[in-house]
């Protein structure tokens, strides 16, 4: 008899292998193109990092349950069963060496969405208990406190107090009927609270109303990263409840990648209900304001700079042109990296990797790609729109001892607002 962990994994694999996944496995031609799309393979050359190989345990279950020969062999006990060793060996491959950046999905010649498969394979891993400890802790904090970094409301309020003092602007909280409900990410509250000041300035300038919610101030969704639809759904539900309570028409996903994927793309499917409000990324909102002529800037940033596309935003979310239009308002010398937009390279810390201490070394190796991209451009400023990317990039910069500054795009815009 299988161990309970294996049973749970097997069951979850069967549960989460859907139509697309069966066809993906069925149509994989083993070409290996996905290897070269993977940051971890590219920087190490180690074939175990080939994206589709990371799905071997899931493939085993698929074979035994969904293919004619696999079923037959399984029936006669001739196929290799899923084992606890498999789960143990693949846990680092599925969690530490994959940021679910989705680059492999772009190059697959038969159109397999490998990133989607990894996301669902993680469901089985977390169900069996084979998920990284760091990510489990973050998810536990997210599920109990509402924040993966464990930021409680008083801590947020204290931060807000400082920002209000600095900017002289009131940060609205629980205002019913505001135009926008802004969500934040843990990283923004802890490390880059400037973001909160920046949106306050911009929204005042644009003449729109907004609010934070004391019941759902975080958009960060560790449930999605660890691969638990149960928890991811709960976290989305908090936001939906708050948005409905405050009767807002639009919820703004913060400068965070996976938060956007969770609330914007997976959200309604996770809770099984259509949203009554719209979800937009802050950059989409800013670009709309720009288009309406409500976002005016003056002056230009003279330093040469480049833009790092957060994977979930650009590749998985389609927010590619907005940041470029916004940047061109304020940057005198904006340079594109060789591969950008939907084909960008990940920072190396998305999809829960940055919350997983065990993956720290691999994350740093992966950073080499970004390092060479930036150095090839000869710029010292990198703008991005994801606080997690920003933190991971800063860690890499510090470790490599290079002279690059990372900025959030929203803050950059706020600095050049035309306040006349």
């Amino acid at each position: 008899m299988n161990s309970p962990a294996v049973q749970r994994a097997e069951n979850a694999f069967v549960e989460f292998i859907d139509g697309p996944i069966t066809s993906f496995f069925g149509s994989c031609v083993h070409c290996g193109l996905c290897a070269h799309a993977c940051l971890f393979y590219e920087e190490t050359g180690d074939p175990k990092f080939t994206p589709i190989y990371k799905l071997e345990p899931m493939k085993k279950v698929w074979k035994q349950n969904y293919t004619f020969w696999g079923k037959l062999l399984h029936k006669f006990g001739l196929s290799k069963p899923l084992t606890e060793e498999d789960l143990k060996a693949w846990e680092p491959l599925l969690y530490d060496s994959c940021t679910m950046c989705g680059r492999c999905s772009m190059v697959c010649p038969v159109g397999n969405d490998i990133s989607y498969m990894i996301r669902r394979a993680r469901e089985a891993m977390v169900a069996s208990g084979y998920a990284p400890e760091g990510l489990k802790q973050a998810t536990l904090r997210a599920a109990t406190i509402g924040s993966p970094m464990g930021i409680k409301l008083p801590a947020l309020k204290a931060k807000i107090g400082h920002i209000e003092e600095e900017t002289g602007l009131k940060i609205p909280m629980d205002i019913e009927g505001a135009d926008y409900l802004a969500l934040l990410s843990s990283n923004e509250i802890m490390m880059y609270p400037e973001y909160i000041g920046a949106i306050a300035k911009i929204f005042k300038h644009a003449g729109v109303t907004w609010t934070l919610s004391s019941e759902a101030y975080e958009a960060t969704n560790s449930g999605l990263q660890i691969g638990s639809s149960d928890i991811a759904g709960e976290l989305v539900q908090h936001v939906v409840d708050a948005a409905e309570k405050l009767k807002v028409k639009t919820v703004i996903s913060p400068e965070c990648g996976h938060a956007y994927t969770a609330i914007r793309w997976e959200g309604p499917n996770l809770i099984g209900k259509k949203f009554d409000f719209k979800v937009k990324h802050i950059l989409e909102v800013l670009d709309e304001l720009r288009e309406q002529g409500r976002l005016k800037t003056t002056g230009l940033e003279e330093a040469a700079l480049t833009y790092h596309d957060p994977c979930q935003l650009a590749r998985r979310g389609g927010v590619v042109e907005q940041p470029r239009r916004l940047l061109n308002m304020v940057a005198a010398d904006f340079r594109e990296m060789d591969e950008h937009g939907v084909m960008n390279w990940c920072c190396g810390g998305g999809g829960g990797v940055s919350a997983n201490e065990r993956a720290a070394d691999w994350q740093l190796i992966a950073f080499n790609k970004k390092k060479s991209q930036v150095q090839a451009l000869g710029v010292n400023t990198m703008v991005t729109a994801c606080a997690n990317c920003r933190m991971v990039l800063e860690e890499g910069i510090e470790e490599n001892d290079i002279q690059v500054e990372v900025l959030g795009l929203t803050e950059l815009l706020a600095d050049y607002l035309d306040t006349k």
């Binding site: 290996g32 070269h36 074939p47």
Partner: protein, 130 residues
């Protein structure tokens, strides 16, 4: 053998119109058909139309075979063009229908293409008419 790192992530548009080495394959087959004819008198045909030749392949094949001494047009419910290539015994035959659409295109190997020969049944009809 192609190594994993030799397979590009981004493919580039190169040589789409380039020869796909089909010409050499056709020439090689012609050589064999000529051998067969010389040794046993057996005629042979290559069906060009059903071959996946690119436009460049096609032109190049035409150029490589050249033009010989004889050409003929047969009116057979649409024109059929026949000419001997620069290689004696290798004939290029194109059958078209009334709408000028190509029905078949072949390379025939032998003294004379079958389509040029009169059929006994028709000769019999001719005799009856006299």
């Amino acid at each position: 053998m192609t190594r994993l790192q030799d397979i590009p992530v981004n493919t580039e548009i190169t040589g789409l119109d380039a020869e796909c080495n089909m010409v050499d394959a056709v020439l090689h087959e012609l050589k064999q058909l000529l051998d067969a004819y010389l040794s046993s008198g057996e005629t042979g045909v290559i069906d060009i139309k059903s071959m996946p030749l690119s436009a460049t392949d096609y032109d190049s094949l035409k150029q490589r075979l050249g033009n010989g001494e004889i050409s003929a047009t047969a009116s057979l419910a649409g024109d059929t063009e026949i000419y001997e290539t620069a290689l004696s015994g290798v004939w290029w035959v194109v059958h078209r229908n009334i709408d000028d659409r190509v029905l078949a295109e072949q390379l025939e190997v032998g003294r004379i293409p079958a389509i040029l020969c009169a059929h006994d049944d028709d000769i019999r009809v001719a005799r009856e008419r006299l």
